[in-house]
């Protein structure tokens, strides 16, 4: 069969237009000294990368990002598997109603999730209850690092746990029934069945591994929720603030230094991030061979 290459032309054109082209230009920018005030594009080699790697603000942002990525991916894995087990164990109407409820957060804009879990939304009534209602005189202080890091992680898991749930439900459905029947014959308890059949099937599933990889690389560009939090905490104009993920840091470099923002420096951060993305995508593609069939 002749391959209809003409069908591919528009997509290839778009890939170059919005993907490869801009990325190459970003790369060139990152090798030059460029700002809107001084758009000369003097080549400076890897100067920007050296500036960047020797800047503690960058390393702080990397640490914050890694913390939030690890936290949210682990939490959404746990919550997602829990939800999936609940769903697969219920029948009929309950199943469809609850699975519809559980997927709602996927549809909520991440920036709105930043508002949802903000100090003045969820914690407004909760704190009123704690402070006045129960007369404890205490409240949940959302300005302590441990609270706001947890809340950012919770917000992210809030959005993405349903995805893990959907994937896990599909995995559970593909476990052969005979395994459970055999376990029943041997008189295994429900807990034993979970321990020996269900749990290993979920954890060792290549599908789950690939989904987690995709989530991890996605979480690396985490922006909206920490960005919202930089406002809640009054850190919006502070470079290298404690909630600055790499993306938020780049945004702040871009927006707070009006007109003379260090475009070249920002692009070099972006290129560093990009290389992580490209590497992870290569791994994902290798592991999900069905995509190339």
């Amino acid at each position: 069969m002749r391959v209809p290459y003409k069908f591919l032309i528009p997509v290839i054109f778009i890939i170059f237009l919005v993907g490869i082209g801009p990325v190459l230009q970003s790369f060139l920018l990152s090798l030059s000294e460029f700002s809107l005030m001084n758009p000369s594009m003097q080549p400076v080699g890897f100067h920007n990368y050296i500036t960047l790697l020797s800047d503690p603000i960058f390393w702080t942002a990397i640490q914050v990002t890694l913390l939030l990525v690890a936290g949210s991916v682990i939490l959404e894995l746990v919550v997602g598997i829990f939800l999936a087990l609940l769903i697969t164990n219920s029948r009929g109407r309950a199943r469809s109603v609850f699975s519809s409820i559980f997927v709602i957060p996927i549809a909520i804009a991440p920036i709105v999730t930043g508002i949802l879990w903000s100090p003045n939304s969820v914690f407004d009534d909760l704190n009123t209850l704690l402070y006045y209602g129960l007369s404890l005189g205490a409240y949940i202080d959302t300005t302590i690092p441990i609270t706001y890091y947890s809340l950012i992680i919770i917000s992210d898991a809030y959005i993405w746990a349903p995805l893990i749930m959907l994937v896990t439900v599909a995995i559970l459905r593909s476990i052969p029934k005979e395994l459970y029947e055999a376990a029943d014959v041997m008189g295994a308890s429900s807990w034993k069945k979970f321990q020996k059949i269900t749990f290993p099937a979920i954890i060792t599933s290549p599908i789950l591994v690939v989904t987690l990889l995709l989530r991890t690389v996605d979480a690396f560009r985490m922006f909206e929720v920490p960005y919202a939090w930089s406002f809640w905490l009054g850190q919006d104009s502070q470079l290298g603030a404690p909630v600055d993920t790499v993306s938020v840091l780049m945004w702040k470099m871009f927006s707070t230094t009006l007109y003379d923002f260090p475009i070249a420096l920002i692009t070099s951060i972006a290129i560093v991030l990009l290389s992580i993305t490209l590497l992870t995508c290569a791994v994902i593609l290798r592991r999900s061979s069905n995509l190339l069939e």
């Binding site: 069969m1 391959v3 209809p4 003409k6 069908f7 591919l8 528009p10 997509v11 290839i12 778009i14 890939i15 919005v18 993907g19 801009p22 990325v23 970003s26 609940l86 219920s90 309950a94 409820i101 559980f102 997927v103 709602i104 957060p105 996927i106 549809a107 804009a109 879990w117 100090p119 003045n120 939304s121 969820v122 407004d124 009534d125 009123t128 209850l129 402070y131 006045y132 989904t211 995709l214 996605d218 922006f223 406002f231 009054g234 919006d236 790499v246 993306s247 475009i263 920002i266 692009t267 972006a270 290129i271 990009l274 993305t277 490209l278 290569a282 994902i284 593609l285 995509l291 190339l292």
Partner: protein
Amino acid sequence: MSKTENNNVKYIRYILLVSASLWVLWPISIMIEEGFRVDIGPLFSGRGASFVGEFFQGQGGIRFSTIEYVKALRVEAYPRLLTNSVIIAVSSVLVAALAGVPAAFTLALYKFRGKAFITYSLLALRTISPFAVLLPFFIIYGRLGLFDTYQGMAIVYLIINVPILTMMMRGFFKDIPKEIFEAAFMSGASDSYILRKIALPLALPGLAAAAVFAFVGTWNEFFYALFLTGTVTKTVSRGVWSGFSESIESFKILEFDELNAGGTLAIIPAVILALLVQKYLARGLTLGVSE
């Protein structure tokens, strides 16, 4: 004995299901409630207590007020943002579908050199850090006058929509039994004929699902909108954040009631549409990697 045990298990399961739904619904209901300026504070002391750092922010009352919602809808800010979002999302999804469907057809049915390259590029485009492409867009749009225009935004959103449309449609074409295509090829039909008359009609529900999914993604997108939209093409998610009444985002005032009312209005269409296509959410979100 075993019957009561079974019943107990059933009750525990229901309790867990309901508490898990609370995890999802509780923050949303608080947002809707705060949008109505309701606060349980007055029940106890006459004041609501919100603590942002040392700042005490008493606000709200037990009597609910629709003022924030009315303001959002009546000042025509929300209708305008909604129109902007719809124009941008629909045109971007349309272009993505026109480009993506034939490519998806080819990716689903043929093996060829460069297939890995295209798949990889689409995967990378989906997960790329926006900053890696954004600054060139920012500079070029400034020169070409595409900044804050519908065309400009529709082009930028191809970054997220083309991978979604192509990879989802690839999955839907793959779901069609191979025998159908084999029979068609045997009878000597051309590729475009098979795509238009056989593959596309069979995958039409899938195309609708993919388009809706991409629409929701564009609707919810915040980052590109934050950079590249201004007063003319500001989208819903951007407008919710910067406030309905404010025309240009120069600085941000924290108006929580307004934010909550805006957030509520923004998620209603997205949630409804996403529930319509919930069967395909996993496929869309992972580009079919999870199959």
